[in-house]
C-alpha cells in the first residue's frame, strides 16, 4: 500500500532544493527565557549549525517536554512538538519510528529528562533509535522557581531543601553510557565553538546521540559552572576529549591524565617524570575508556571532561524495524486485508 505519507514525501522531493541559512531556522515567536539565560546561546548555536546538516527544515522535528529548555521548539522554524513533562523522548520515539525519513531532536533538561522522564530516556538510549537528545543541565529546577534537581550537588540548599538536599546526583554521561548509548558527549553553553561541534557530530550520528549541555541558570543557580567557563580557572578545571589525542590540560598545557591501573590521575608534564606518551590517548570508539572518563565527573581532584566520550556504530532500532517489515513483506507478500479476513477455518451457511 502506498500511504498518504509516501505521497507527501514524494511531492516534497520535487520541491525546490532547500538552501537555508541559519536565519531561516528562526521562528517568528519572541524568545522568552530570562535575560542572560544560557539557553540563548544553545539556541543560537543550534540555528547556526542546522544549515550545515544539509536537511531541509520541513524534514526536521524538535520535540520537548516541560521546563525552561522545553520552550526551545517554539523558536525553531521547523516542525515542533512541546509535549508533556518527561515524555519528549517517548513522543520523539514515535515520530522517528513512524517516519525514519525525518531528523528528530529532543530538547530536555535535568528535571524533565533525568527525573520525571528518566525511564523513557534510558529506554530510548538502549534502543538506539536515531534521535538526537540535547539535555540542558543547569542542576536546578528553573520553571518551578528553584528546587534542587537530580543533578544538583548533595547538600544543595533550595526552597524545598532548606537544610540541604540529601540525594546524590546523577552523572548524566555515566547514566547514558550505562543505558547503552552509542553516542555520548558533553559541552557547555559558554563555549559556542565546542557546542557547535558537538551538535554537528550528534546530528550526523546514526542512532541515539546524547549531548549533555552545561547551562547556566543565572536566576536560580548562577555560576554553578563558572569554574569551567571563567578565564582564570577553566584551563585547570576542564580537559577536552579529542579522538586520538592525549588528555592534556592546564594553562600552559602542562598537565595530563594517565591511568594508574584503571584509575585516572593528574600528572605533571614538566617535572620530567611523565611525557605525553604516558597519558590516556582518547579513543571515541572505546566503550571501556568511556566509562572511566565519565567517572571523572564528580572527582574533585580531576578536571571535568568535555567532548565526545563515545561514538560507536550499532544498527538503529528504526532501521531494524523497517528491515523487519520489508522481510515480512518479502516472506508473506504485501498484506491483503480481504485474504486475512478469509484466512484459516471458515464455513459457508447457505
Amino acid at each position: 500500500m502506498t500511504t498518504l505519507v509516501d505521497t507527501i514525501i514524494e511531492q516534497a522531493q520535487t520541491a525546490n532544493p532547500s538552501n537555508h541559512s541559519s536565519k531561516d531556522f528562526q521562528s517568528d515567536q519572541d524568545v522568552r527565557w530570562c535575560p542572560g539565560c544560557g539557553d540563548y546561546s544553545i539556541l543560537a548555536q543550534a540555528q547556526r549549525i542546522m544549515p550545515d546538516l544539509g536537511i531541509p527544515r520541513h524534514n526536521i522535528v524538535f520535540v520537548s517536554g516541560i521546563g525552561c529548555s522545553s520552550r526551545f521548539p517554539y523558536y525553531m522554524e521547523t516542525y515542533g512538538f512541546h509535549s508533556i513533562h518527561g515524555r519528549a523522548t517517548a513522543v520523539a520515539s514515535g515520530v522517528k519510528l513512524a517516519r525514519p525519513d525525518l531528523s528528530v531532536w529532543v530538547v530536555t533538561g535535568d528535571g524533565d529528562g533525568m527525573s520525571i522522564g528518566g525511564n523513557h530516556l534510558i529506554h530510548l538510549l538502549r534502543r538506539n533509535i536515531d534521535v538526537n537528545i540535547l539535555l540542558f543541565n543547569n542542576q536546578i529546577y528553573g520553571l518551578t522557581k528553584g528546587q534542587y534537581s537530580p543533578t544538583s550537588e548533595k547538600g544543595k540548599v533550595t526552597k524545598s531543601t532548606p537544610y540541604g538536599s540529601l540525594d546524590y546526583p546523577f552523572n548524566p554521561v555515566a547514566l547514558a553510557l550505562g543505558a547503552g548509548a552509542t553516542f555520548v558527549a558533553r559541552t557547555i553553553d559558554r563555549d559556542p565553538k565546542h557546542l557547535q561541534q558537538m551538535l554537528k557530530r550528534a546530528g550526523h550520528h546514526v542512532g541515539t546521540s546524547f549531548v549533555e549541555v552545561y547551562q547556566n541558570c543565572n536566576v536560580f543557580n548562577d555560576g554553578t559552572f563558572s569554574h569551567l567557563t571563567e578565564k582564570g580557572t577553566k584551563d585547570d578545571y576542564v580537559v577536552f576529549l579529542e579522538h586520538g589525542k592525549p588528555l592534556i590540560f592546564g594553562k600552559a598545557n602542562d598537565k595530563g591524565i594517565r591511568l594508574s591501573g584503571f584509575t585516572p590521575e593528574v600528572v605533571s608534564l614538566t617535572d620530567g617524570k611523565y611525557s605525553a606518551n604516558d597519558l590516556i590517548i582518547h579513543n571515541e570508539h572505546d566503550t571501556t575508556l568511556s566509562f572511566i572518563l565519565a567517572n571523572m565527573t564528580y572527582n574533585e581532584f580531576l578536571p571535568r571532561p568535555l567532548g565526545i566520550f563515545l561514538d560507536i556504530a550499532r544498527p538503529s532500532y528504526d532501521f531494524e524495524m523497517q528491515k523487519q517489515i520489508e522481510y515480512a513483506k518479502r516472506k508473506r507478500g504485501e498484506g491483503d486485508m480481504s485474504a486475512l479476513l478469509n484466512s484459516g477455518e471458515t464455513w459457508i451457511i447457505q
Binding site: 517517548a90 480481504s338 464455513w347
Partner: protein, 613 residues
C-alpha cells in the same frame, strides 16, 4: 448395545481442570470444531490470575465454557449441562452452576487423597451422595492416557500433558463432532516435535475410541447447524477482532498503523496479533511503560500515522495526562481499553465495565473525547474501525471500550466484505498559502493534519493553550474560554455523523432495558424470553457513549420504566439520569463475571409486576 442419539437445540459444556491441565486449549479446540460444524456459539474462558497456581487447589482451577446450538446463541450460558472435571477442585468450584440432572465426566485420578484434601473435601464426593442429582461418568483419564502411550517411551511430562486430549476426544464423540480440524491443527503446531504430535494424536483418538467401544456413554447428541444469516463465517475472539479492525482501518485510511503498547492483561493479545502482521506495514512498539505506549502513538500521529494504544483500566489511568495532550494538540488517536475488574490491580483476569467514567471524564481540565463501546466479540471489529474513522475525521483521541469477557470470548462472525468498508482517508494539507494549524473545518471543526515533511507548513504544537486559528501559545482569558468551547463543540458535532439509535422491540412499552458493551448477549436473551411471553419489553444497546446519539432522549421517553444493567456499581445510569432527568433503575453485578440472562430476566419480571419503583 444400540445407543440412542438424541437431538437437542443447545448445550452448554464447562471444561474445568488445573491451570496446567490445558483446559483453555481443550475449550478452544472444541469451539473451533463446533464453529466449523455450523452451530451458533458463545464462549467464556475463565482462568486464574496466576500462571501456575499451586496444583490441585480451588484457586488454581481454570475453566472454559461453551454454549452452542442450532438456534441463536447470545451468551456462554447461565448454567451448564455438562461438566468435565479433571480433578476434585474443578468439581468443587463448578458444581453449583451445573443444572440439576446434568452430566459430570470426571477424571478419577484427580480424586486421590491429596486432591480431595486440596479441594477441601473430607470424603470422596464420587463415593457419597454429593452427586446424587447428576449423571456421573467416572473415567480414569490419566491411566488410559498413559496406556495409550506406553510403548512410546515418552517423558512423563508429555504423557501427563496429553490427557486433556483424551477428554476432548470423548466430547467430540458424544456430540458428533469431527476430529479432523484438531488433527490438522496439531499437525501444524507440532510439525517440529514429532513425539509430542504422535502422543497428542494417539490420545485424542483414544478418547474417541474409548467412548465408541465401551458402553459408558449410553447417549450421543445431535445439535443441528444453526440457521444463521447466509454467508461465509469464521470464529473470532474480541481481541482478534480488535486487532483486525485496526488493520482494516489503517488500510482504508491509507495510513501506517502504529501501535504503542505495554503488555497488560487482558489486552496483550491485541499487541501479539498485530505484531504478526508486519507485512501490512504495521509498526508495533512494545514500549517501556503505558505512558510511553500512548505518547509514542501521539508522536506517530503527529508524523502522519494512525496512532493507536491498547491497554486495560490501570494502564488507561497512567495514560490520562497524555490523553489530555492529545485533546489539546487535536491529533487522531485510538485508545483501546479492554476493561477488567478494578480498582487498582483488582481482579486482573476478570471482566468489568467500571472504566466508563474514567473514559468519559478521567482527565484534568475540560477534555471531552468520543467514547465508543463494543457489544460482542466480533463487534470489536466495527467499534474500533468506527473509532478510527471518528478520530481521523475529527482530529481527536477516541476511547474504544471492550472488556475481558469480549476480549477472550468468541463467536461465529459473518466475514465482512472488506471492499464495502468505507474509505476513511484523511487529506493532508500541502498549500502554505493561508495555512494555520488551528484553522477549522466549518462542518466538523477539525483542524488540519499537516505532517512533518510538508514544505512550507512548518509549525509547532503543544500542551499549552493555543490561540484560536494561529495555534500560537496564548494566555488570554477570553481565548481560553473560546478554545474550551470549540473543543467541546467539535466532539458534540460527532453526533451529526453517527446513525440514530434503534430499539429492539416495540417502540413504546412497559420496560426498556438499556445497556452498553458486553451485556448485549445477556440483555438480548432476557428481553427475548419476555417478548416470547408477550410482555412489552424492549432493548436499547448503546455503542456511542459520548456523544450520545441525538434520539436517545426521545426513545427513553417512550417507556414506563427504564432498566440499566451494568457490570459496575452504576455508571451509565448516572449519565442518562443527569442528561435526561430520568428515574432509571439500575441492576448491578460486580463479581468479575458477566450477567446471566436469568438475572436480568428476573429483574424485568419485578419491574413488570411493579414490585420495584
Amino acid at each position: 448395545m444400540t445407543r440412542k442419539t438424541k437431538s437437542v437445540e443447545d448445550v452448554t459444556i464447562r471444561f474445568a481442570g488445573d491451570s496446567g491441565d490445558g483446559m483453555q486449549f481443550t475449550g478452544t479446540q472444541f469451539t473451533n470444531t463446533t464453529a466449523i460444524f455450523g452451530n451458533d456459539l458463545s464462549t467464556l474462558p475463565d482462568y486464574p490470575a496466576e500462571i501456575r497456581a499451586p496444583q490441585g487447589t480451588t484457586f488454581g482451577v481454570s475453566g472454559f465454557q461453551i454454549h452452542f446450538g442450532s438456534t441463536e446463541i447470545n451468551t456462554p450460558g447461565d448454567t451448564f449441562d455438562v461438566l468435565v472435571a479433571m480433578n476434585a477442585a474443578a468439581l468443587k468450584v463448578n458444581l453449583r452452576s451445573l443444572i440439576k440432572g446434568g452430566s459430570i465426566i470426571v477424571n478419577t485420578d484427580g480424586f486421590n487423597e491429596k486432591n480431595l484434601k486440596l479441594a477441601g473435601y473430607s470424603e470422596n464426593p464420587l463415593h457419597n451422595h454429593t452427586l446424587a442429582d447428576y449423571s456421573v461418568y467416572e473415567v480414569d483419564i490419566t491411566k488410559l492416557t498413559s496406556l495409550a502411550l506406553q510403548d512410546l517411551n515418552l517423558a512423563p511430562k508429555i504423557v501427563d500433558r496429553s490427557k486433556n486430549l483424551f477428554a476432548l476426544g470423548m466430547m467430540f464423540w458424544i456430540y458428533h463432532r469431527p476430529l479432523e480440524p484438531t488433527i490438522k491443527w496439531l499437525n501444524e503446531k507440532f510439525s517440529k516435535k514429532p513425539d509430542v504430535l504422535e502422543a497428542n494424536l494417539r490420545v485424542l483418538k483414544a478418547g474417541w475410541n474409548f467412548s465408541e467401544t465401551t458402553e459408558i456413554f449410553s447417549v450421543r447428541y445431535n445439535i443441528a447447524p444453526a440457521k444463521l444469516y447466509p454467508g461465509k463465517y469464521r470464529n473470532i475472539t474480541g481481541n482478534q477482532a480488535t486487532a483486525w479492525g485496526l488493520l482494516a482501518a489503517a488500510q482504508k485510511a491509507r495510513l501506517t498503523l502504529f501501535l504503542g503498547s505495554y503488555p497488560i492483561t487482558p489486552a496483550s493479545d491485541i499487541l501479539h496479533e498485530l505484531a504478526k502482521h508486519k507485512n501490512f506495514g504495521v509498526k508495533t512498539f512494545q514500549a517501556e511503560d503505558e505512558i510511553a505506549g500512548v505518547t509514542s502513538a501521539i508522536g506517530a500521529a503527529f508524523a502522519g500515522s494512525l496512532g493507536v494504544t491498547t491497554t486495560s483500566g490501570p494502564g488507561l489511568a497512567l495514560k490520562t495526562e497524555a490523553l489530555g495532550l492529545a485533546v489539546m494538540v487535536e491529533l487522531p488517536l485510538v485508545v483501546v481499553d479492554v476493561q477488567r475488574s478494578g480498582p487498582s490491580t483488582g481482579l486482573p483476569t476478570k471482566t468489568e465495565q467500571a472504566d466508563l467514567m474514567q473514559a468519559l471524564y478521567g482527565r484534568n481540565g475540560e477534555a471531552p473525547l468520543p467514547v465508543i463501546a463494543a457489544s460482542t466479540p466480533s463487534d470489536c471489529f466495527n467499534a474500533v474501525f468506527e473509532s478510527a474513522r471518528i478520530a481521523i475525521k475529527y482530529m481527536t483521541p477516541v476511547i474504544c471500550l471492550t472488556d475481558g469477557y469480549l476480549a477472550n470470548g468468541s463467536e461465529p462472525w459473518l466475514i465482512p466484505n472488506y471492499d464495502q468498508l468505507p474509505n476513511i482517508a484523511p487529506s493532508f494539507p500541502t498549500e502554505p498559502d493561508g495555512f494555520f494549524p488551528y484553522a477549522r473545518n466549518e462542518t466538523t471543526l477539525a483542524r488540519p493534519w499537516a505532517i512533518p515533511g510538508t514544505p512550507g507548513l512548518e509549525h509547532r504544537i503543544g500542551g499549552l493553550e493555543k490561540q484560536n486559528i494561529t495555534g500560537n501559545v496564548n494566555y488570554e482569558p477570553e481565548n481560553h474560554e473560546v478554545m474550551v468551547k470549540l473543543r467541546a463543540e467539535k466532539i458534540a458535532r460527532v453526533a451529526n455523523d453517527i446513525p440514530m439509535a434503534e430499539v429492539d422491540g416495540d417502540a413504546h412499552g412497559d420496560v426498556l432495558v438499556v445497556g452498553w458493551g458486553s451485556t448485549y448477549g445477556a440483555i438480548r436473551t432476557a428481553v427475548q424470553r419476555h417478548r416470547a411471553k408477550g410482555h412489552s419489553v424492549a432493548h436499547l444497546h448503546l455503542t456511542y457513549l459520548h456523544p450520545l446519539q441525538k434520539n436517545i432522549g426521545e426513545l427513553l421517553s417512550n417507556y414506563k420504566k427504564i432498566l440499566i444493567p451494568e457490570i459496575n456499581n452504576g455508571q451509565l445510569i448516572h449519565i442518562l439520569r443527569s442528561q435526561y432527568l430520568l428515574p432509571a433503575i439500575g441492576l448491578n453485578k460486580i463479581q468479575g463475571l458477566p450477567f446471566r440472562a436469568e438475572e436480568i430476566e428476573i429483574k424485568i419480571d419485578e419491574l413488570l409486576k411493579g414490585n420495584t419503583p
